[in-house]
Amino acid sequence: MKTFEERWTAWLDDQLGGKELVEFEASLSDKARAHAEKQGAHKLGALLKDHFGADVLNNEEFFSHQIRERIRRESEAQERAAFGGARSAWWSIRRLALSGVTALAIFAIFAVVVMREKNPREQSEYLTQILNARVDPAVSPNATISMFETKKDRVTVLWVEGLQSLPADYAAK
């Protein structure tokens, strides 16, 4: 349903027709005044057209030139931004790889140092032999072997008690 304003506007612009026009004109209480308003609106339109139609754009070519320049500058800026973006992405990939390699190198150095620290340095050959030796419980039922070691001074003391005989394969060199 059109409002009165919409129908009035359409009527002024001769956009109402048929039944709608008849109905609208019938609804006007003061037809003479309405027609005067319509005529006034047409005169107003003509006045506006007459006075506003004369406006011209001076320096038309300069106007276009300025737009061309702005567009050119913007396009160049966009291209630079796109190139810069690609370059920064490349740098980040390179940085990532470099960081990876550095991290691996640090890990390798650390691993070597720690592993070396963890490994016993020089274990006594005798101690190894004795520890590896089987003490026969039948021969030496009460044998006890205690070991005291001071790594700092690289000294190991092996305290053996109740040993009846040395293992047969004991062979200290």
Binding site: T9, L12, A41, N58, E60, F63, I67, I71, R72
Partner: protein
Amino acid sequence: MRAEATPAQADVSDLDLVRQCQTGHPEAFDELVTRYRTRIFAMIYNMVHNEADAWDLAQESFVKAWRSIKRFRGRSSFYTWIYRIVMNVTIDWLRKKQIKGAGVEFDESIQLKEIDPASKTAPKADPLPHTRMERSEIRARIDEAIKQLSPDHRAVVLMKEIEEMQYHEIAEALGCSIGTVMSRLFYARKKLQSLLRDVYENV
């Protein structure tokens, strides 16, 4: 972008020129600027009543159109489409100016102070061709009357009366319904008729 469009482009339709723009041919956009620059400048000038501001706003509108031309799908004419941009740019500017001016929107002294000397302004051109005193006076009356309309009402009445656009075209350009356009036209005309009755009755 070339300085001049080729003569052949003068025969090309707006839609074809838009398609060329969309495939990266700025010279096609140059032709579109040539086709519409005068009308668009005049339309903006009639809304803002200042040549330098109209120049800047028209430039801004065209540059915005260029930036978004890839999104133009051809559902409306290029003219209607660019008018929408023009109206958005101009009405936004008028609203900001109204807020800034706090009701003294078109005070000339304020207007002069607000123009940044480094802004993108046109070189001072010769005065507009309103040389005859009588016409100047009438024009001043009309301008004063138009200034009293809200930006939306100004846009509607100028598009209808000067550009002779259809209701649906105005609605499309302003992004509102046809009913709103007709309603705004009703109030804008009423206001102008009350302000300019003695002028148009005596011309």
